[in-house]
Amino acid sequence: MTVKVSMSVNGKPVSGEVEERTLLVSFIRETLRLTGTHVGCDTAQCGACTVVMDGRAVKSCNMLAMQAEGAELVTIEGIAEPDGTLHPMQEAFRQHHGLQCGFCTPGMVISAIDLLKNTPNPTEREIREQLDGNLCRCTGYHNIVKAIAAAAQTGGGVLRR
């Protein structure tokens, strides 16, 4: 049994025929071929699949594609400027070496933007507590925390879309 789903992704209307059980992350990765959104744990623990849905960071491995019907999504591919200029959060991660293997990075960047949107001037403790939903095995979080703190001063909590 397939269903048609339609939504906006990175400012463009998209639609596709999916099985009812198709997860949102599968729709993004397999149907739309936006492979920057990753699957790390299948159980909504690691946050590598985090995308923005209607202004909120959500874990796309933990919901059905059907649940995003009509929603406005932003994936990591839609974070930078159209000319390729990095978003302040992406730039802060680069400047502060907040990424190593890069696998958790898309979800981490999106969660970090959401974090600053909700808490514009976080303390280190607040950053660490609010990053609870994203796992990184490479960086030990030290430089991710630094990057987010720095991005708080450069507009890191504002999403273009």
Partner: protein, 785 residues
């Protein structure tokens, strides 16, 4: 500093843009035309005979392309997975090497063991069909604990090892060590468990295999740390394929930490199956599969003793370790608890006599192999827990007992085979003590006590052997492979450079660090150098990335190739400048005739090599492309001093790391930013081992209890602190860059420092890892009672 010397500069990473924008290409991102999807059917039992597998129902399910079981693999004469290191038993016999089939042959030996593969048009169809595969098991008693597995009457995993023992291996002069103990002033004894860990790179293992009938060739995309080794093992030992017909590509890889070194059953099955179905076959592990079937790490039980004289000088060390290797021997399983462990037991100290005996045991658990540090964290834990405990027992300052025993003369031959080339242990310890403000600790402890909290301070002074290894020495110790590295420097006509390296980067930042080395040597911009790795179709050869070897071995291979480039460039320049080759100097990217203003920039020489109109063609080939293989003459020996300060809440048992200071000596550092990042990540993996992570199997059923991210606690951001990092540079004496390697240090030194701090805070002799709030609370309150 020269404008083109990038050594020691924190150049921002070349790889970051693609990872930050979602443009990385990991194995699961690779989509091949007509690809099919594989689902592996795994054993739900820890130990069972397979009575029957009925495919009929599953074969009829929608979208199913093929189903293969152990019988199909056996009929096709697909070999088993090899072990790359032969360990010889104390009785002189080779270790027991039971068959390691890629799909189970009549018996399964751990939960997650590979039973069958279902290949279908979509992954959902493959999973649906897998549910319909009828497998009838006769469940057997299981054993997950190594000491239980050695007991009389324990379930037997493999016929060739009726006592479940793979080997008993020893190093050192036991009689002399026993004598030293007999006359010692003091003996410190500890018994502890080095807990089993599950690596959990955030990218799960994945592979996509393709076969082409037109030229009978294969391409395997795989999340792997050493694609040439993967190809060599698979073609030569398992599938018997012509090596030149197999291309292995390890594209962007989302973390490895050792777990992606090995040739896994899935890689072989997919490659073989791609030919059978004549279509690409893709598989990506679910996290549950990663937990069950990625090679695990550690899992030692050890009794360790240190003999000391009246002044606290170490006279001898005696270590008996039982290592759980799991159900089968993974690729490098045998050398981790022996060659990479016992040889590090001298630590930073002059202990003259050391004996270590290791018993490796098969159990009904996932295979255990190298995980970040691989043997060296276990050795450091033994040494540094013993040393700290001895200091407390003898009423010596923990720093002082270390100073009394530090090695100060180099080179230093340890009693356990290694020869350290250089080090400066006192300096790293002094810097760590200062950075950690150890002098202020009593005041902080008193202040914490007023709040009802317990503060403790612990040290760890680790050493590791990296840059593995001189091939001939490794060979004499049982290695079945060489351990050199290869590099190729391809100078393009315009003077831009592409470098091909056998090292693989899966987070370490080689594309930047190696480019800094090349740019500095050729006097060009870092942007003018690209590093290519991870593709046997492009890179000439490679032994890959593990054991913190990339810069020391892979980097040196590139330097050797650069030497050849510069040497040839001098010849070309001599011709262009009508001078004698001996008079040509090369600095800052310019060839000059010494003492004159005649010069030719690197790009002009490069162009001349490819447009050889004015060129000594009678003496010199055109082109500017060189490669080199480098086999090191010794290991490198990074070392450092860590100081950890914790605060325990005795009411809840929660532990807060209030200060963690790490001062490491990695020799020459190319990119400090990247090196610090490696230390941070290592520290948190070590802290994870000490505080939060434990792989638990149910002792009766053999089921994996910690089989998901909800059950196995990978540290989160709020579990760990920020760090104080320092470095000392004592250059390695035997490679041209003076580098030692930095990838594993944090994970090696931190568990001992943390447990030393916790035992200090709690006033207890020992505390088992992971020191969960429950264990800490019990220790705190047992003492109070």
């Amino acid at each position: 500093m020269s404008a083109t010397n990038f050594i020691g500069q924190s150049v921002k990473r070349k790889e970051d843009y693609r990872f930050l924008t979602g443009e990385g290409t990991y194995t699961d991102d690779v989509v091949l035309p007509r690809q099919t999807h594989a689902c592996f059917v795994r054993s739900p039992h820890a130990h069972a005979k397979i009575r029957k597998i009925a495919k009929d129902k599953a074969l009829k399910a929608p979208g199913v392309v093929a189903i293969f079981t152990g019988e199909d693999i056996a009929a096709a004469k697909v070999g088993g997975l090899p072990c790359g290191w032969l360990i010889t038993d104390v009785n002189g016999a080779p270790m027991k090497e039971p068959p390691h089939p890629v799909l189970a042959q009549g018996k399964v030996r751990y939960v997650g063991d590979h039973v069958a593969v279902v290949i279908a048009e979509s992954i959902e169809q493959a999973r649906d069909a897998a549910d319909l595969l009828e497998t009838d098991y006769e469940v057997l008693p299981a054993v997950v604990n190594a000491s239980v597995a050695r007991a009389q009457g324990a379930p037997v995993l493999h016929d060739i090892a009726p006592d479940n023992t793979c080997y008993v291996w020893g190093i050192g002069d036991k009689a002399a060590v026993d004598k030293a103990f007999a006359s010692a002033h003091h003996v410190t004894t500890l018994e502890f468990v080095n807990n089993r860990l599950i690596p959990n790179a955030i990218e799960p293992r994945a592979a996509n295999a393709q076969y082409s009938r037109s030229d009978e060739s294969y391409t395997l995309y795989v999340a792997n740390q050493n694609p040439h080794v993967e190809r060599l093992l698979m073609t030569a030992f398992v599938l018997g394929l012509p090596e030149h017909k197999v291309r292995v590509v390890a594209p962007d890889v989302g973390g490895g930490f050792g777990s992606k070194i090995y040739l896994y059953a899935e890689d072989v099955v997919l490659t073989w199956a791609a030919k059978q179905v004549n279509r690409p076959v893709k598989w990506t592990a679910e996290r549950a599969e990663s937990f069950q079937s990625d090679a695990h790490g550690r899992d030692h039980v050890t009794r360790a003793e240190l003999a000391l004289d009246r002044e606290g000088r170490f006279l001898g060390m005696r270590v008996m370790t039982t290592a759980n290797v799991g159900a089968y021997l993974s690729t490098f399983a045998s050398c981790v608890p022996t060659i990479l462990y016992a040889t590090l037991l001298a630590g930073q100290y002059t202990t003259p006599l050391i004996y270590c005996e290791v018993t490796a045991v098969f159990t009904n658990t996932a295979p255990v192999d190298a995980y970040r540090g691989a043997g060296r964290p276990e050795a450091t834990y033994v040494v540094e827990r013993l040393v700290e405990t001895a200091a407390r027992e003898m009423n010596l300052e923990p720093a002082e007992i270390r100073r009394r025993n530090f090695i100060r003369q180099f080179p230093y031959q340890t009693p356990v085979a290694l020869q350290y080339d250089t080090g400066n242990y006192e300096a790293t310890l002094a810097e760590a003590i200062q950075a950690a403000d150890v002098a202020g600790f009593p005041g902080r402890k008193a202040e914490a006590a007023k709040r009802g909290k317990l503060r403790g301070l612990g040290y760890a002074c680790y050493i590791e052997a990296c840059g593995i290894a001189p091939s001939n020495i490794a060979g004499s110790l049982g290695a079945r492979a060489g351990l050199f590295e290869a590099g190729e420097v391809r100078v393009h006509p315009t003077g831009k450079v592409t470098v091909f390296t056998g090292s693989h980067s899966h987070g370490q930042g080689h594309e930047t660090t190696f480019a800094q080395v090349v740019a500095s040597r050729l006097g060009i911009a870092v942007e003018d150098v690209d590093i290519v790795h991870g593709d046997t179709g492009k890179v000439l050869f490679g032994m890959g990335t593990y054991g913190s070897r990339s810069i020391a071995v892979g980097g040196t291979a590139i330097v050797k190739a650069l030497d050849k480039i510069v040497a040839k460039g001098r010849k070309i320049a001599a011709h262009l400048l009508e001078a004698s080759e001996a008079d040509i100097e090369f600095t800052d990217g310019v060839f000059r005739v010494a003492g004159t203003d005649k010069q030719a920039p690197f790009a002009q020489v490069s162009l001349a090599a490819y447009v050889p109109h004015n060129y000594p063609l009678d003496k010199l080939e055109p082109g500017l492309n060189e490669n080199a293989f480098y086999d090191p003459t010794n290991f490198t020996f990074p070392a450092g001093s860590y100081v950890c300060e914790v605060e325990v809440d005795p009411e809840t048992g929660s532990t807060q790391i209030v200060n963690f200071t790490a001062v490491d000596d990695f020799g020459k550092i190319i990119n400090p930013m990247i090196v610090e990042g490696q230390v941070h990540g290592g520290l948190v993996q070590g802290i994870g081992q000490a505080l939060t992570e434990a792989c638990v199997y149910d002792t009766d059923s053999g089921q994996l209890v910690t089989g998901s991210m909800q059950d196995y606690c990978v540290p989160r951001a709020d579990d760990v602190p920020s760090f104080r990092i320092g470095t000392k540079e004592t250059p390695c004496t035997h490679n041209p860059l003076g580098v030692k390697g930095c990838g594993e240090a944090g994970a090696i030194g931190s568990p001992a420092a943390l447990i030393n701090a916790l035992t200090d805070a709690l006033g207890v002799r020992d505390l088992e890892m992971p020191a969960t709030p429950q264990r800490v609370w019990r220790a705190a309150n047992k003492k109070a009672a």
